[in-house]
């Protein structure tokens, strides 16, 4: 059918154009990278100490824990879930491990890390069980467990903090030591990302996580067990939170009951900024790294720029809202372009 005919018969004719946003969408990560670079240049112009090796190292180490947790959160979000309990899990594992090493100073750091991961895995298993076997909505299950784990942390701590002098040198050293000239926190992040990269991209189970999130019905037909995947992602998330608990306590050389309260919001924000789709199925490690780095830069740069601390929350909220809305617009644009391509 010729468009000429429509034109001649219709006075009102809304011709839809291909969405430009969608084209940008294909280079989303590049866009985010460009945004980050621009932000860095802007900050550098205001404060010349920003782009120094020292500051970059500081920023990396400060963002390390966020980066680790973001991997787990990405997997949870990919399966269309959410986990609000990670701050509490982190605190619980950190507190228990700190108490243990203060009583057993000869504990090897590796044992401490494994212990933290173990505690986290148990916490995650409980949530995974609630979500997969009992079908409790992730938000409700994790809200409830957040309360419970946080309460348990206070209880275990008995109102005390574990201070740096109670921690053996080698435990505090987990976060400050260097491996091949690189801060070991950063090394752990790199290891986590390499493992995650392999797991997500190169194992069957890893791909099944995406399959479940992308199309749960098809996944069932193909024989992918949704329950197994749910159990897995919340357990992995718990394990990473447990690991982060040890790193947190080691980095700040102090374990408190209220450690990392509300940290889950930053992690979720990093994932959303990194382009992880809340509707499930989509999310890339490269995006998550950039998203976490953006939050890390904001945390690092806002004090450097003398931005009033009271604006920080507001700025954070605006950026997150803008990012998720942009995401939707891009998706809509893609769909519209697909429709246009059908030429009906």
């Amino acid at each position: 059918m010729s468009t000429n005919m429509i034109d001649s018969t219709l006075p009102v004719n809304v011709e839809k154009k291909e969405s430009k946003l969608a084209k940008i969408g294909q280079f989303r990560e590049i866009g985010l990278l460009a945004f980050i670079i621009m932000l860095m240049i802007a900050v550098q112009m205001r404060n010349s100490s920003f782009l120094t090796i020292e500051n970059m190292t500081d920023m990396m180490t400060n963002t390390a824990i966020l980066l680790i947790l973001a991997v787990g959160m990405m997997l949870v979000l990919v399966t269309r879930g959410i986990d609000l309990s990670i701050g509490a899990t982190l605190a619980l594992s950190g507190m228990v491990v700190a108490q243990f090493v203060s009583n057993h100073p000869q504990t090897s750091p590796l044992v401490a890390i494994l212990m933290g991961i173990g505690i986290g895995i148990v916490c995650g298993l409980v949530i995974g069980g609630l979500v997969s076997f009992l079908g409790v909505l992730p938000i409700i299950a994790t809200l409830a467990m957040m309360n419970i784990y946080r309460g348990m942390t206070y209880m275990v701590s008995d109102g005390k903090w574990i201070s740096s002098y109670q921690m053996p040198e080698n435990f505090v050293g987990i976060a400050t030591s260097k491996i091949l000239g690189i801060n070991s926190l950063v090394v752990i992040v790199i290891i986590v990302y390499i493992v995650a990269f392999y797991f997500i991209g190169h194992t069957r189970t890893g791909r099944q996580i995406y399959a479940v999130g992308s199309n749960p019905e098809s996944a069932k037909v193909t024989g992918v067990s949704e329950k197994k995947i749910f159990l897995l992602v919340y357990t992995v998330m718990g394990g990473l939170a447990g690991l982060s608990g040890v790193l947190w306590v080691s980095k700040f050389a102090s374990a408190q009951g209220d450690t990392a309260t509300g940290f889950e919001l930053s992690v979720i924000a990093a994932c959303i900024l990194g382009g992880v789709s809340i509707a499930g199925g989509a999310g890339k490690l490269s995006g998550v790294i950039l998203g976490a780095m953006l939050i890390g830069i904001l945390n690092n740069a806002l004090p450097l720029l003398n931005v009033s601390p009271f604006w920080q929350k507001g700025i954070e909220g605006c950026i997150i809202l803008a990012a998720i809305l942009l995401n939707v617009m891009v998706k809509r644009g893609v769909e519209q372009n697909n429709l246009l391509r059908r030429r009906v």
Binding site: I6, H202, R207, N215, G223
Partner: protein
Amino acid sequence: MGEIVMELKNITKTFPGVTALNNVSFVLEKGQIHALMGENGAGKSTFIKVITGVHKADAGEILLDGRPITFSNPNEAKAKGIAAIYQHATNYPDLNVTENIFMGHEKISPKTKRILWKEMHDEAKGILRSLGSAINPKQEMGTLSVAQQQIVEIAKAISTNARIIIMDEPTAALTTRESEELYRIAEKLRDQGTAIIFISHRFEDMYRLASKVTVLRDANYIGCWAVDDITNKNLIIAMVGREINQIFPKKEHTIGEEVFRVENLRKIGYFADISFSLHKGEILGLTGLVGAGRTELCETLAGIEKYDNGFIYLHGQKEKFKNPKDAMQKGVGYLPEDRQKSGLILQWGIGRNITLPTLENYSTKGWLNEKRESLKAKEIAEKLHVKALSVFDLVSSLSGGNQQKISVAKLLTTDLDVIILDEPTKGVDIGAKAAIYKIINELANEGYSVILVSSEMPEVIGLSDRVAVMREGRLVKIIDAHEVSQESILAAAMGEVQPGGEDVCQPI
């Protein structure tokens, strides 16, 4: 005569209350494209599900390469080289093409369990190239067109080394050019020795591809013919079988003035250039192949979806419906195709379902009068002979036919002029069908204008005063009652221009 790869002997499958397959036999040869035809509900999908191991036959046997075999799940059938490509692609939009092809049988390194991406990409590329397609295997599935997705589905079947591929209406959503591409691929596979079971409503597909055709009707095996030996007419008789008029009520309604008119309606990506008019007391059949854009058009007419160009007139007045409520208040009501998903609230009782569209009528200033409400529901439900104990019976406990009556009842609580019925008899048995036909006819007698959307030829022919045929998002023909026949409808739906109808719009 080629080598027989698969043979089904006297297969019977019953579900509670319904016999889905009754003593059906089927023979498939190597390198053969075998068409399977029949009306909706003839048992084709059950037939496929038995072959692919989703359902287990109650009686009869399946022979594969001459040996009897039973499948207890789809994976076993897959392992034996049987693959099915469904009408609605079952893919993962966020994953890339290669993964979609290999999901469930990824190539992994035997030692490290690592996914061998390179090998998979290469093989995917190879398969796609062998199908003559230039799709990049690394592309995301969601960005492909429907036709490309179909090709990926075929590639998926090939990747499992399938010897038998079942294609369930693969061309339903494709344009002519895209279908041509698909034919080419099917022929290529055939030449390589793959046996293909091809299910389609398009006669064109069958003539173009198949060498044999097996017809099912009402769960029964009717016959198997060589395509060259059977005429179009005889084939249709084999498919439809019965006297078309027998279950349809006598038309008594008189057609009055024009009530509803649509001009050049267009929704980008779904349909375009839709123009027709509808008169008081008239039943306008709307038919076409699956994916022709009928449902989208109906939803637009009922104010559910927005349109991009064109005009809708009601009683000569230009109208633009803001939402379904607005359309209903102005006099256009819609009965959706999927009554369970979009027609009813299954967890609710009969009464609440019936009164949902017109809650305001049983309320004063927003306060519901439940007594008035249930009395009204009772009145309408009884009028439609709904079979239940009370108006509080849950809809989920009713049979399909009764559920459909509740859906229709919802439209009768308010003053409508135009009623759009989208596949009103889908999934209901023959008895309930007759009851619904009677209701539709009565509606027309009472002066409603009805648009009846249906894929079932006899239904459209038996009830409609005129039949509009859609193809590929366009209204290609409106056929008057005296010229309506299966042939004229099929011809229009499949794109052959036949004499005897007013050409509304030219095909692309």
